[in-house]
C-alpha cells in the first residue's frame, strides 16, 4: 500500500524510537529479571507520550486518530524489535471496542485515560486451550440492577497488569452460539476476581483469571446485552489484523537476521549466502513475507474503511501471517545452525513470539476454517 506522508513519518518515528529504546535486548533483559509484568511501564509511558496509546482513539478524546493502518505501522515495527508493551491489549483491542461500541460515559471515562497511557485494559475471551469465542461458556446472571459473573478465562494478554477487563460472558443462548454473549467492563481488582500470571514462552505477560460471583452494575455492559458478538468480533478483528502486521515485521527481521548470518559465515570455503539451495529457500521466504505484509495491511485498511469484506481479509491476514512468521523463524533458526539454538542468539526469541502471536486470537487453522465458512464450503 501507499503510505501518506503522515503515515510515513509515523513509521519512521516508530522505527527510530524502538530500535533505540526497545530492541530485542530489552525483552531479553525483561525476561532475565524474571518479573512477570511482561513489559516495561516506563517505556509504555514514553510510547504514550508519542501518541501511540491513543493511536486509534479519536482526536476529540485525546487520541491521534491514525486508525488501524497507523496502528499496524507501529505494530510492524514492534514486531521487528519484539517490543513488549500493552499496545496490543489496550491501545488496539480495548480502544477499538470502546471507541466503536462504548456509550458516551464509557468513552469519556476510558478513552482519554487510555490515550494518556494511564489506564491498562485487557480482553478476557478464551476459556480453553484453543481460541473459540463462540464457545464462550462463562455465565453472567442478572442480579439486582446488574449482573453476577462466574467462570474462568485464560490466555488474557496483559491480564495480570490490567486495571480493567473486558469480559465476554453468556447472558443467554448456549455455548457455540453467537447470540447471548454480553461484554462487561470489569474492575480488575473487584471482589471475586483472582488473577494468576502465566510465564509464557515468548516472555510476555498472560493471565488466567477466575471470576467468583463478581458483581457489576448494568452500566458495565459494553454494547448491548446478548449482543456482544458484534463488539467482540470488532475487537478481535482489530487485534488479529494488528497481530498480523506485527508478525509480518517479526518475520521480516528474523529473515534479515538469517541473511546477515549467512553473509558473514563461510563453510567449505564459500560464503553461506552463496549456496544456491539456501538462496532459493530465501527467495521463497521473501515472497511469503511480502504476501503476509500485503495481506495484513489490506485487512487493516478494510477494517478502517468498515468494508464488507474486512472479516474475510482479516482471516486471510491472520492465517497467512501466522504461518509465515513461524516459517521465517524456523528457516531463520535453521540457517543460523547450532548458534541459533543457543539462548545467546536472538533468533530463538522470534521463534517463540511467532508461536504465541500465531496462536493468539485464533491460529491459521481457526482462520482458515472461518474463511472456508465465509466462502461457503
Amino acid at each position: 500500500m501507499i503510505l501518506s506522508d503522515d503515515q510515513q513519518m509515523l513509521r519512521e518515528a516508530a522505527a527510530g524510537f524502538l530500535s533505540e529504546k526497545a530492541p530485542v535486548s530489552a525483552l531479553r533483559a525483561l525476561r532475565d529479571k524474571g518479573e512477570d509484568k511482561g513489559f516495561d511501564p516506563d517505556l509504555w509511558q514514553e510510547m504514550a507520550q508519542m501518541g501511540w496509546a491513543g493511536i486509534i482513539v479519536p482526536e476529540d478524546a485525546g487520541g491521534a486518530e491514525f486508525g488501524l493502518v497507523g496502528g499496524g505501522l507501529i505494530a510492524m515495527e514492534m514486531g521487528r524489535h519484539l517490543t513488549a508493551s500493552p499496545f496490543f491489549s489496550t491501545a488496539i483491542v480495548a480502544a477499538s471496542g470502546v471507541s466503536a461500541f462504548g456509550n458516551d460515559a464509557q468513552k469519556s471515562d476510558l478513552l482519554p485515560a487510555i490515550a494518556a497511557g494511564e489506564l491498562l485494559m485487557a480482553l478476557a475471551v478464551d476459556e480453553g486451550r484453543k481460541h473459540a469465542p463462540a464457545k464462550t461458556a462463562m455465565v453472567a446472571h442478572r442480579s439486582g440492577n446488574g449482573f453476577s459473573l462466574s467462570g474462568a478465562k485464560t490466555f488474557v494478554v496483559d491480564g495480570a497488569q490490567a486495571d480493567k477487563l473486558i469480559v465476554a460472558a453468556r447472558t443467554g443462548g448456549d455455548a457455540g452460539e453467537q447470540n447471548g454473549i454480553t461484554l462487561f467492563i470489569v474492575d480488575a481488582n473487584a471482589k471475586g476476581v483472582s488473577r494468576t500470571a502465566k510465564a509464557m514462552v515468548d516472555s510476555r505477560a498472560s493471565a488466567e483469571i477466575h471470576f467468583d460471583a463478581v458483581d457489576v452494575e448494568a452500566d458495565a455492559v459494553l454494547g448491548r446485552v446478548d449482543a456482544g458478538w458484534e463488539p467482540l468480533s470488532h475487537m478481535l478483528n482489530a487485534g488479529r489484523a494488528i497481530l498480523s502486521a506485527e508478525m509480518s515485521g517479526s518475520a521480516a527481521t528474523a529473515f534479515a537476521m538469517a541473511l546477515d548470518y549467512l553473509a558473514q559465515r563461510k563453510q567449505f570455503g564459500t560464503n553461506l549466502s552463496a549456496f544456491q539451495a539456501l538462496q532459493h529457500r530465501a527467495a521463497h521466504l521473501h515472497t511469503e513475507i511480502a504476501m503476509a505484509e500485503a495481506a495484513s495491511f489490506a485487512a487493516l485498511a478494510a477494517l478502517d474503511a468498515r468494508a464488507e469484506d474486512a472479516p474475510r481479509k482479516t482471516a486471510v491476514a491472520k492465517a497467512k501471517a501466522s504461518q509465515v512468521s513461524l516459517l521465517a523463524a524456523q528457516e531463520g533458526l535453521q540457517m543460523h545452525g547450532g548458534m541459533g539454538m543457543t539462548d545467546a542468539f536472538d533468533i530463538g526469541f522470534y521463534l517463540k513470539r511467532a508461536k504465541v502471536a500465531g496462536e493468539l486470537f485464533g491460529d491459521a487453522s481457526f482462520h482458515g476454517e472461518a474463511l472456508a465458512r465465509d466462502l461457503g464450503f
Binding site: 538462496q279 527467495a283 500485503a294 492465517a319 474463511l371 464450503f377
Partner: protein, 387 residues
C-alpha cells in the same frame, strides 16, 4: 466539463455508433481474438469492421504516438477508453505480439524509419508478428543461443532454429535474436533483427504438448537473407532489447495469474462433491487443501494490489516482477491440481479440465522457470552473491 469528461462523452458516443453488435459480447477467450495479419480470416464482418475502425483511430494501441499509428492518448484517456469499452462489453479489436511485445521495445530502441515502417501496420492489424527467442538446448540460459546471422554485405544470412515460437505458422513477420559475433562473450554477440516469415529458407513445424495441440512451433532458418536495415538497436547489443522485453513479459505473466484467480475452488467442490452433515465439503482432507489454496490466493491478490498501487504511483516493479511470476504460476499449478482432485475420475478423462491441468505445468517454465525467478529474487532483491 473537464477535458477528460468531454473525452469520455465523445468516446462513448463513438463506440456506441461504431462498435458492431457482435463485438459487444464481452468475450475475452482466445477463440474470439482477432490476430490480424495477411493470412487472417475474419470470423465475421463485424470483426473486420471493428478492426478497421479502431485501427484507423489508432485505438488498437491507444497510447502509441499518432505518427506511428497509435491513438496518442495519455494514460488517463486510455483508462477511460478501456472503461467505456468494458461498459458496452466491447471486445479487444486486435491481439498481436506486435502490440504487446515488439511495439514497446520498438518505441524504445527502434530507429525513426523502423517505427514509421512497422508500427502503423501493427496498429492496423496488417502484419502479425511472432517472436524468435528460445532455442532447443538453451532452456533458461537464453543468451546461449546459437542461431547465427553472418555478414553478407548489405544483409545478414541467418541459419539456425528457434523453438516455442507461438503461431509462427500464422505470423507474417518475426522479431528474432541472433548471434552476430561468435567470439564475443555470449551476451555481447547477440543482435535483434526483424524479417518476413515468407523469406526463402524459413519453415515451421507445430509442437504437440502433453496437453494436446498448441500454438507453439519450431522454426527453422536455412540461409535466410535479412536486409541490414532490419537490425533494431546496435549490432551485438540485442541483449538490451531482449532484457527489456523479458522483464515486460514477466510482469504481464505475473499480473495475469494474480488477477485471473480462476474459478472459486470452494464452490466448485461444493457443487461436485456435496457437503457433509456439518455443511463442509464432503472430503475433509481435500477441503483443507482447498482452504490453504484460497488463503494463498487471497494473500497473493493482496500482494498484487499492493504492487500495482506502488507501480501506479510511479515506483518501478523491477525484480518484484519475478516474485509475481514465481508465485502466480506456482499457485495456478496448485489450483489446477486441486480442480483435478475435486473432479476425480471424471476429470481424468481426456477433456478440457485435464488438458488445462496439463497445460499449467508449463506456467512455471515459460517466460523464465520458477528456478530462474528465485535466482533473480535472491540476487537482485536479497543481494545474495552468485554461487
Amino acid at each position: 466539463m473537464s477535458d477528460l469528461e468531454t473525452f469520455r462523452a465523445e468516446t462513448r458516443a463513438w463506440l456506441e455508433e461504431n462498435c458492431p453488435a457482435d463485438m459487444r459480447d464481452g468475450a475475452k477467450d482466445e477463440a474470439s481474438s482477432c490476430w490480424g495479419g495477411r493470412k487472417w480470416e475474419f470470423t465475421s464482418e463485424g470483426q473486420k469492421i471493428w478492426l478497421e475502425r479502431m485501427g484507423a483511430r489508432g485505438w488498437t494501441v491507444p497510447t502509441w504516438p499518432k505518427e506511428y499509428g497509435g491513438g496518442g492518448l495519455n494514460k488517463a484517456e486510455a483508462a477511460v477508453l478501456q472503461e467505456e469499452m468494458d461498459a458496452i462489453g466491447a471486445r479487444k479489436p486486435h491481439d498481436n505480439f506486435g502490440i504487446t511485445m515488439l511495439g514497446p521495445a520498438m518505441l524504445h530502441f527502434g530507429s525513426e524509419e523502423q517505427k514509421r515502417e512497422h508500427l502503423p501496420k501493427i496498429a492496423r492489424g496488417e502484419i502479425r508478428w511472432c517472436q524468435g527467442y528460445s532455442e532447443p538446448g538453451a532452456g533458461s540460459d537464453l543468451a546461449s543461443l546459437r542461431t547465427s546471422a553472418d555478414d553478407g554485405g548489405d544483409h545478414y544470412i541467418v541459419n539456425g532454429q528457434k523453438i516455442w515460437t507461438s503461431y509462427a505458422d500464422r505470423a507474417d513477420w518475426i522479431f528474432c535474436l541472433v548471434r552476430t559475433d561468435k567470439d564475443a562473450p555470449k551476451h555481447k554477440g547477440i543482435s535483434f533483427i526483424l524479417f518476413d516469415m515468407e523469406s526463402e529458407g524459413v519453415s515451421t513445424k507445430p509442437i504437440k504438448l502433453i496437453s494436446g495441440s498448441s500454438p507453439f512451433c519450431e522454426t527453422f532458418f536455412d540461409n535466410v537473407k535479412v536486409p541490414k536495415q532490419n537490425l533494431v538497436h546496435e549490432e551485438n547489443r540485442g541483449w538490451d532489447v531482449a532484457k527489456y522485453l523479458l522483464t515486460h513479459e514477466r510482469e504481464m505473466i505475473g499480473a495475469l495469474f494474480g488477477s485471473m484467480g480462476g474459478p472459486a475452488l470452494g464452490s466448485l467442490a461444493v457443487e461436485e462433491l456435496g457437503t457433509d452433515e456439518m455443511g463442509r465439503v464432503d472430503d475433509p482432507l481435500l477441503r483443507s487443501k482447498l482452504v490453504q489454496a484460497e488463503i494463498d490466493s487471497l494473500a497473493f491478490s493482496a500482494l498484487l494490489e499492493s504492487v500495482e498501487a506502488k507501480n501506479g504511483a510511479g515506483e518501478s516493479l523491477g525484480a518484484t516482477s519475478s516474485v509475481l511470476k514465481y508465485y502466480g504460476t506456482e499457485l495456478n499449478k496448485r489450483r489446477h491440481e486441486l480442480m483435478m482432485e475435486v473432479g476425480g475420475s471424471e476429470a481424468m478423462e481426456v477433456g478440457q479440465r485435464s488438458s488445462d491441468w496439463l497445460r499449467t505445468k508449463g506456467n512455471s517454465i515459460e517466460g523464465g522457470t520458477s528456478e530462474i525467478q528465485l535466482q533473480i529474487i535472491a540476487k537482485h532483491i536479497l543481494q545474495m552473491p552468485g554461487a
